[in-house]
């Protein structure tokens, strides 16, 4: 997960340098982190349900 965020951060930095905006990449990375967190939660519910189904 860290490596995904790092790639996004690097991509975003390259973009913001081009567009001469400042620290926009930070917000992009934050949004990505929130979404990854939500997906992680979905995965954990999914796994718990699989366990219940096996019983």
């Amino acid at each position: 997960m860290n490596s995904i965020l790092n790639t996004i951060l690097l991509q975003a930095q390259a973009f913001t340098e081009q567009a001469s905006t400042h620290k926009f990449e930070v917000t992009v990375a934050v949004i990505a982190a929130i979404f990854i967190g939500i997906v992680g939660y979905l995965v954990s519910i999914d796994r718990k349900l699989s366990k219940l189904e096996k019983k």
Partner: protein, 221 residues
């Protein structure tokens, strides 16, 4: 224990669309300006909703043909997530409208149609909760569902195109193509639609499996 491939694909596509929706270069547009990026967030909610409600109708038809109550559960949960996506679409659309059209709610035919359409599905949810008997609930709501979907499609895709509308592609308004000078927008838009649809199906899948387990427990008792 393994997460299905289409769920991971959905997550990856949405992540890509979230990030590239903010970073991709956009054409210079009057009024819309940077808010054209909402194309990657607001519009996929509606497209996702349509695909979810379509899945709901397909399962309603399946139920009427085979009488399997599991299909009824699938149909109901897909409709629930579809309505959630529709509400997200309304809220995001209102924010966008305020800042480009000048008001949270305009009398745009597409807005009013979408509101009527969502009310039809609210009625579906209320209808379901008002019938105790499982078989009867499944049959009545399946029939209602099968009528609702085509009406919703007519309401949001056909009627607004017959009158003047602020939405692109409707009435005298130019469509998506006029934004799409270098089709760079499509490169983010289509993955966003597919990704959000898959995420919607994932959420519905979780709700369906929860209901199925609940049903099994009830049968054991």
């Amino acid at each position: 224990m393994v997460i299905k491939w289409w769920k991971i694909l959905g997550a990856v596509l949405v992540l890509y669309a979230l990030v590239w929706g903010l970073l991709t270069p956009i054409p210079k547009l009057a009024i819309l300006e940077e808010s054209i990026r909402n194309l990657f967030y607001h519009v996929p909610m509606w497209f996702g909703m349509v695909f979810l409600l379509l899945g709901s109708m397909v399962n309603a038809i399946k139920f009427l043909r085979k009488g399997d109550l599991n299909d009824d559960i699938k149909s109901a949960q897909l409709a629930n997530v579809g309505v959630l996506f529709g509400m997200m679409g309304i809220v995001t659309g209102m924010i966008w409208a305020k800042n480009t059209w000048g008001d949270y709610w305009t009398n745009d035919p597409k807005l009013n149609s979408a509101a009527i359409g969502l009310l039809m599905y609210f009625a579906y949810i209320v209808l379901r909760s008002s019938i105790e008997d499982e078989e009867k609930r499944a049959r009545v709501s399946a029939v209602y569902n099968i009528f609702s979907f085509p009406v919703f499609v007519v309401l949001i895709f056909i009627l607004p195109r017959l009158t003047a509308s602020l939405h692109p592609g409707n009435g005298g308004n130019p469509g998506f193509n006029s934004y799409d000078l270098d089709s760079k927008l499509r490169l983010v838009f289509y993955p966003a639609v597919i990704g959000w649809t898959l995420i919607g199906y994932w959420i519905a899948d979780l709700a369906i499996r929860k209901e199925l387990i609940k049903q099994k427990q009830l049968n054991h008792e």
